[in-house]
């Protein structure tokens, strides 16, 4: 709140610089990748990219209620389409920037051999809690629920599921050892902060509907030109390369085989 109140006052001496900023709402699985992407864009153009992360459904709801974002990176294609249908986003700008992948992650010192046994480790009695994102408003939560059903495990483990508000919180539940296993984004498992802390198994893509992720320009954006230019950068091979380093596949390359 305070920043909103203070911003105009602070902006006066640097009016020009303050104008060159865009506000980006982004799905939680992008929390590591998009920071790098934004920093590199900022360095190049001087446009400040302000990032807000959350569950895609939660962010959609905020945009529907007038949150002042210019660009929205969703973890699926449905939420951007909802915004288009409601007139809050510009349908012509919808772009599938990446395909996310779901992994089953356990801490490094866990006795569970997740890398070879995959989903079967969830049958182990030592797994008391399994973290996943909330399927109600997080695409990764829906993917995890679909994968559990695909392997006929959902009924067996449903009383052991703990729901993170978004996929980042699910990752944090597993990383802190409060849950013995977690369905998280490959992008988190490969992020610098998580590297070396755990081992994971990439859930095969046929087990859940593809996590096609769409980005879109918000209608009525106050920084329309800069936001559109940023979207142009997201479409470049360079940006796609950065996203790939964090475990996203490019839409054309489709899936990372592991």
């Amino acid at each position: 709140m305070a920043c909103f109140v203070l911003a105009p006052g602070i902006a006066i001496p640097h009016a020009e610089a303050a104008d060159r900023e865009i506000n980006v709402a982004a799905a939680a699985d992008l929390s590591a990748a998009l920071q790098e992407l934004a920093a590199s864009y900022e360095k190049r153009t001087g446009v400040v990219v302000k990032l807000s992360f959350g569950a895609s459904g939660a962010l959609t709801q905020q945009i529907q209620n007038g949150a002042p974002f210019d660009v929205f990176f969703s973890a699926d294609m449905d939420y951007p389409r909802q915004l288009i249908a409601g007139g809050q986003a510009d349908g012509k700008t919808l772009y599938r920037y990446a395909v996310g992948q779901l992994v089953l992650w356990v801490p490094k010192d866990s006795p569970l051999d997740v890398e070879h046994k995959g989903m079967d480790v969830l049958r182990d009695p030592s797994v008391k809690k399994i973290a996943m994102a909330n399927p109600q408003h997080a695409p990764y939560g829906r993917a995890a629920a679909a994968a559990l059903k695909h392997y006929d495990l959902y009924e067996k483990v449903s009383d052991r599921l703990v729901l993170g508000e978004n996929v980042s919180q699910a990752a944090q539940f597993a990383e802190s050892g409060n849950a013995q296993a977690g369905f998280i984004a490959l992008a988190h498992a490969e992020a610098p902060a998580m590297q070396g802390k755990g081992k994971y198994w990439v859930v095969p893509v046929e087990a859940y509907p593809p996590l096609d992720q769409g980005v879109i320009l918000i209608s009525g954006s106050a920084h329309h030109k800069d936001a559109a230019a940023f979207l142009g950068f997201v479409r470049t091979e360079e940006a796609a390369g950065m996203l790939r380093r964090y475990g996203f596949s490019s839409p054309d390359q489709k899936y990372k085989l592991k």
Binding site: K129, Q136, V162, L163, F173, S176, G177, N178, A179
Partner: protein, 230 residues
């Protein structure tokens, strides 16, 4: 289904358990704060007041990380009970006790301090033990403050959100409280369900507070012996 009754039952259960435990823990602590002459007492008072200032995320973070399986304390708890403290009802109870501590202890201590010391001296000269004086003189004279403390604890726990979001894991019937349920509905744009639950919670809390303050009405003494607690 517009209203998640399970969440309501769970939330009321949590608020009752936390209020009862804080009454038991809070009375001796408040007594000590009111009557101790220890020169460093202010340190304890500051610690008790901390949860008023600290964001619930700090408390939730400590409960989650410090009591998770990476910490010695968490491992000890896990060896004892077979599970971590997070994502359980007991975890919510512990988080809520920490979070609501000042809301019980401060009104208790304030009303103990406002008891006329001459009455305590009279009781002692008549041969009553300190415990007897406490039970027969201090407690009866502090009833409004005690009620205030318990009601504030109850209300504060009913409305708790941050700590539960951090350590709850959103498990139906175990850790999905009303505030979390409402948050989920809003985030999913189910405004009708969110509205139904929010309205019910509002009416319920207002009714509880009205009944308690109505019963507690006294001609010359408000229920706020120290003024409204923040």
């Amino acid at each position: 289904m517009l209203i998640d009754w399970q969440a309501f039952r769970l939330t009321i259960e949590l608020a009752v358990v936390v209020s009862a435990i804080l009454l038991v823990i809070g009375l001796p602590l408040a007594y000590w704060i009111a009557f101790s002459r220890w020169r460093w007492k202010f340190l304890v008072e500051a610690m008790v007041a901390l949860p008023i200032v600290l964001p619930p995320t700090v408390l939730g973070f400590y409960v989650l990380v410090a009591l998770g399986s990476q910490s010695p304390l968490g491992r000890w708890w896990q060896a004892l009970t077979g599970h971590t403290l997070a994502f359980t009802f007991s975890g919510l109870v512990i988080g809520s006790i920490l979070y609501s501590l000042p809301f019980a202890v401060q009104p208790f201590a304030a009303s103990f301090s406002s008891v006329d010391r001459k009455l305590l001296a009279a009781s002692a000269t008549l041969g009553a033990s300190p415990l007897r004086t406490f039970l027969r003189v201090v407690i009866p004279l502090s009833v409004p403050g005690l009620v205030t403390g318990v009601v504030l604890t109850f209300a504060h726990t009913m409305g708790e959100f941050g700590v539960v979001l951090m350590i709850g894991g959103n498990i139906p019937g175990v850790t999905r409280t009303v505030s979390i349920g409402i948050y989920d509905q809003v985030q999913s744009s189910n405004y009708a369900a969110a509205n139904a639950m929010a309205l019910l919670l509002l009416v319920f809390c207002f009714a509880v507070l009205t009944v308690v303050y109505g019963l507690n009405r006294q001609p010359n003494q408000g229920v706020w012996p120290m003024g409204p607690v923040k």
